[in-house]
Symmetry: C2
Subunit: 355 residues, 2 copies
Amino acid sequence: MAHRIAVIAGDGIGTEVMPEGLRALDAAAKRFDIDLEFTTFEFGNCDYYLEHGKMMPDDWFEQLKDFDALFYGAVGWPDKVPDHISLWGSLLQFRRQFDQYINLRPCKLMPGIKSPLAGREPGDIDFFVVRENTEGEYSSIGGKMFEGTEREIVVQETVMSRTGVDRVLKYAFDLAQTRPRKKLTSATKSNGISITMPYWDERVLEMAKQYPDISVDKFHIDILTANFVLHPDWFDVVVGSNLFGDILSDLGPACTGTIGIAPSANINPEGKFPSLFEPVHGSAPDIAGKGIANPIGQIWSGAMMLEHLGYKEASDAMVAAIEEVLAEGNQSVLTGDIGGKGTTKTLGEAIADTI
Amino acid sequence: MAHRIAVIAGDGIGTEVMPEGLRALDAAAKRFDIDLEFTTFEFGNCDYYLEHGKMMPDDWFEQLKDFDALFYGAVGWPDKVPDHISLWGSLLQFRRQFDQYINLRPCKLMPGIKSPLAGREPGDIDFFVVRENTEGEYSSIGGKMFEGTEREIVVQETVMSRTGVDRVLKYAFDLAQTRPRKKLTSATKSNGISITMPYWDERVLEMAKQYPDISVDKFHIDILTANFVLHPDWFDVVVGSNLFGDILSDLGPACTGTIGIAPSANINPEGKFPSLFEPVHGSAPDIAGKGIANPIGQIWSGAMMLEHLGYKEASDAMVAAIEEVLAEGNQSVLTGDIGGKGTTKTLGEAIADTI
Ligand SMILES: CC(C)[C@H](C(=O)O)[C@@H](O)C(=O)O
Ligand SMILES: CC(C)[C@H](C(=O)O)[C@@H](O)C(=O)O
């Protein structure tokens, strides 16, 4: 039975790394005899918006809902469309409408990649950030009053529901249980944000009762970001709200020197709707069009997609191929951001060949 | 004329570093012939709460409002009082009721302090975080519904006013103008937080028109935290909302290896109410009572207080004394967190002597 994958490349370097993601997936599919069927969609990018006045056609949900997964590049081009319009018109719609309430992002120090942190070696940093992906600080409730006057005021709600908080915590605790260290860290800010965050803490305490074998700690987000830099080896599974998870899953990869190569999965664990796989990096208008973007984030996201579809072995082989090519350190293959002289294509081809 | 300083040590190591802060201030006052008059208050700590059921007496505002400054240690002891109660009952009240709308925190790589970032030397990192300190994400509007049921939901408003945003931006632009690089970075998240944050961006653009000589850029908070680690040399003055400023002013000092020694000023620039000076570190219950806490954050905060009171030379002398003692690197003087074998007192005395 074929797995039907919807492919949306998006903007900027999204369109450049996507072909390499597909190349690597094709190689893995061939080697492990997996039947992947790709369908490309031309919406969900800023040029589409300029032409149609919206990021996606009205029936996008119908068009996409029966796919087995969405493979996404990157979206946003602020000179064409303000970010909050392009993002709320595409990526953030998928996350919400397809109830992809888990955003899972590995932070792992890879061979051949230099960490900006002094003295850290591969093996020292290896954790997951589990981010709530549908509610919290990213709400659409709020507005502006006394517009254009000195008294102007804007408000925006943060919204947390028991359903929303408990299900992401459950996922994170379950994940911690599969890990050797069985450790979970909760990101909070209950000393300052005095209504939603104490509630988050309360639910963590409650959920922890069901997982007596997991060791749980919590840090306020300010000191937690500091500890990512000072003690990245402390962490195993880190769970946070939509905003805190967002911050930590950029900072974590930065600490492993891999902001340009980190992958992410937006998961609907029940499989009621398709999950979405995308690199952590954005569309990077500043380097777009040059063919120099690092395709590893896209390829690694493809590996997460294969694991999600049930092909753990194929997924591991893709990650192993990335590690092998990085460890080889061939200058003419690697892209400039990781010290090479190659292109998006040379690096993508090398990984596909290795697979 | 004597400057009247209210002294509140707070909890935990706050009570241990405070005497060293006062010792250093006494030394500076003597050398530069400044008349400082200290009055100690026994409220604003968790033991006071346990005894009186509140963090401060009802007339705290009256008792404190005519002082020239507040010199604060650290507050919070979660085993005695939940953080959001102790903090909202003391520190956050001062910031709000005394309209200390600027929170100013220097991030500077000091001699003798090892940065956790590879290859960074003193001089490489030297910037200020300017944080909005009275509104934004730290609001007291919100609540809980369907309590105790599956449908439970909590909401909390973020509130930004034109007055509140513009005045912190103005302060930050003015500060940037005094710096050689004349650069200002705005922390935003307007791609995800779609109401308040685009408003913040709008006001930055508007304010920038009045400062044509300042170069302005902005980053979303997620990639900004990454850039603190990857490119700390990019920054000069960074301005952010209450929450973003909170995060960046812990992360920044962490990148300079100085989370335990960083100072901060909570300023009411008009001088209508007293400003408050406190170390960035918290009350650290885990190491309290051992006499090993690093007193530099308290002492450096004292230096910021002297500058605020108009004694730039004395303030510089205090910072120079800190740098000198750090550069000497005498093991028996320095505290354990910065590689020594000394105590709060040995380090405090060495700095006071140097002043
Ligand atoms: C203790 C806490 C409420 C406080 C804050 O978040 O403002 C602290 O982290 C700070 O930065 O001064
Ligand atoms: C582009 C933006 C809206 C998005 C987010 O904040 O969720 C991105 O930063 C991410 O982490 O996927």
